[in-house]
Amino acid sequence: MTKTLDKTITVAVAGNPNSGKTTIFNNLTGSRQRVGNYPGVTVEWKEGTVRRGDLSLKLYDLPGTYSLTAYSEEELVARDFLIKQQPDVVVNVLDASSLERNLYLTTELMEIGLPLILVLNMTDVARDRGLTIDAGLLARRLGVPVVPAVGNRNQGMDDIIAAVAEVAFRQVSLPGPADQCRDAGPGLASLTQVATGGNFHRVDYGNAVEARLETVSQLLPDARHRRWQSIKLLEGDEALLESIPDPGVRARITAESGAFAKEVAEDSDTVLARLRYDFIGRLCHGVLRIPDRSERTLSDRIDRWAMHPLWGVPIFLTLMYGVFTLTFGLGNPIMNLIDHGFVRLAALISGFWTEGTASPLRSLLVEGIIGGVGGVIVFLPNIVLLFMAIAVLEGTGYMARAAFVMDRFMSKVGLHGKSFIPLLIGFGCTVPAIMATRTLETRRDRLITMMVLPLMSCGARLPIYALMIPAFFAPRWQGPILWIIYVTGIVLALAGARFLRATLFRGETTPFLMELPPYRIPTAGSLLVQMWTRAWLYAKKAGTVILGASIILWFLTFYPKPPADYKVPEGFDRAAIGSETRFGDLTDPAAIQSAELSYSIAGRVGRILETVIEPIGFDWRIGTALVGAMAAKEVFVAQMGIVFAVGEADETSEDLRTRLRDRYSQLVGFCIMLFALISTPCVATFAITRQEAGSVKWALAQSVGLTLLAWIVTFTVYQGGLLLGLGSVMGGP
């Protein structure tokens, strides 16, 4: 390496799911990563940098795929990246213990024609299974570097970098990929075929197919990746076909592909797939030796229990209980500590102002900014622990078993087995639960799960129930009522998923097809990197939105300030503020706060909402509190405290309970809980849905849809309850 490259080498890392691609990517880049989503899609996107001396590499982790068809979003993202970004080198990570299957993607990568490197990962697993692989022979046959590696033990990483550098340097001295000379013209292409008949530099589909490819190739306007395009078009790739502007050319290509299918009396893509496997079979002859006896591996033995028809579910539930306890049991004390810290900080800042002075700046700092930032940071311990647990479940390979075990139940509502985990996490907090939908493979499954997730009653809604249930229900009914609320959420979530499946996400059901990776022990480093990048993503992306929204909601509940002659509105709780009706005459701080809220934008919105929420039994007070609760569900309790002028209230406030009992019937009390459960999720959920779904459209659909659903359900319950004569206010003072 005497010459230095004056530019950064761009490297795309491709491979099957479970090939250990992520581990290798994490090993190579360490924490120098950025995680995001491809714009407009739910596919996770990662890039990282590697520096070794003069060498500077930029790595892009492509989504894990088995092929490069147009059937899934992941595959489209992967191939679009290769075609449009033209990385200098493609690193193809293969699971050596399942070499033939993994080489299928390799054949497609070869067809794209970018400089390629193969990484034979998990060579230790392959050796344990008695497989022997002649990496040197494979490299000679394919004409590309083949690097053996064990990602889990951090072995072979330097070799990968050296191979990337070598291939990149070769590019510099010999400009243009070798593929281009083959694509130079039809005459030359057929000559090359004869010359290379015996080697494996490209998949030879045989004379009949090659002739067809030639015909299609000549029709193509774009000279790049001509062979790959021809093959895909012959397979009947719709996405690629549509990208051709000339309708005449499209028609001729369709005719060609149709004629081919007729000729072979089979589907063209099946034929080409078989020919690729035939090629792989020839390629592996002499390279791969498989022991005759197929023996049960350790993974199979573990699976006898983990996937047992009877024991599988209890084992899964126990592990989930562990995840839950870890996330919220260990996380909540830290969360409280952070919360406490923010309260202290707020008190400290408040101290700069003299007692009783109303300063907008103080209010913005304390209630708006510290409240907002605190609201983001308090979730961090939960997020970090949860993603640690998920990284462990994924890294060990158990996640696939969990999906297997739960699929029997989840498929009944049209969801994937893996959806169960985010739904369960939703009981703790919707925000990490929505991030956990990343474990789902298809966009459809992800979106459906995200849309119904807020119906799993999160921890922040518990204070609302804790306030309302004892206020309206006798002790022996309290347990069953809480149970009814939670079960209502679950039933609605499952019904909602089913409904979405039948309407918005109709079409051929994604078949349940999933690889069961062998169990393995993940590296601590890879787990930490995975956890850290996701936690950071949350803090940064969602954080900015949540902070912004908190400041807006702070403004809505504090402004405008009422003038001294502001008449406290009709229906305002006179009992709480005495006979005074002019705002300027109020002396009680709780009454002032209450009047201020009623004058603020939130209060006005609450009153405007009254016409809409009256049919479900709510008045403007509840409306105002619901507006405030958009910042975070538990804020509802504090807002109710302000509206009813009882000052600082929490979920154990007897004073507030008495006032609620005085004003509302048991039926309304129940309806409040029902509405809080179903209606629009908090801004944090909105922000994270927007981010994870890749567009604000889905976040809006979620909020509007759920609020409509909440209204319909609450309306039915309230009006039904009235008909049954349950609407009377029973509580006395």
């Binding site: 009947g236 099946t270 078989r274 999906a403 297997f404 699929d407 069961l516």
Partner: protein, 90 residues
């Protein structure tokens, strides 16, 4: 392809070229995939995972209900029951 079929019939004397849906194959039995009834997408996904006509597979698990597991080309693949009933084997 014809020669292939003859080979398979010789290899599996108990099946004698008889086809049946994969969902009816017992645990531990080996079978050769013959055809897949389904759309392009399903066939494409199966093919990319190594499941295409002519391939020998082993049923690792079939508990009678729920999805089941087959071994193909050294890897384990979970297939939904609905899907398995649309895969013809021999």
């Amino acid at each position: 392809m014809k020669a292939d079929k003859a080979d398979m019939a010789r290899e599996g004397p108990e099946s004698e070229g008889m086809t049946m849906p994969l969902s009816m194959v017992h645990e531990g039995a080996k079978a050769v995939l013959r055809a897949v009834t389904g759309g392009h997408e399903m066939r494409g996904r199966l093919a990319a995972m190594g499941l295409l006509p002519g391939i020998e597979l082993e049923v690792i698990r079939n508990s009678g209900h729920g999805p089941f597991v087959v071994g193909v080309k050294g890897s384990r693949v979970v297939i939904g029951r609905g899907m398995a009933s649309r895969i013809e084997v021999e």
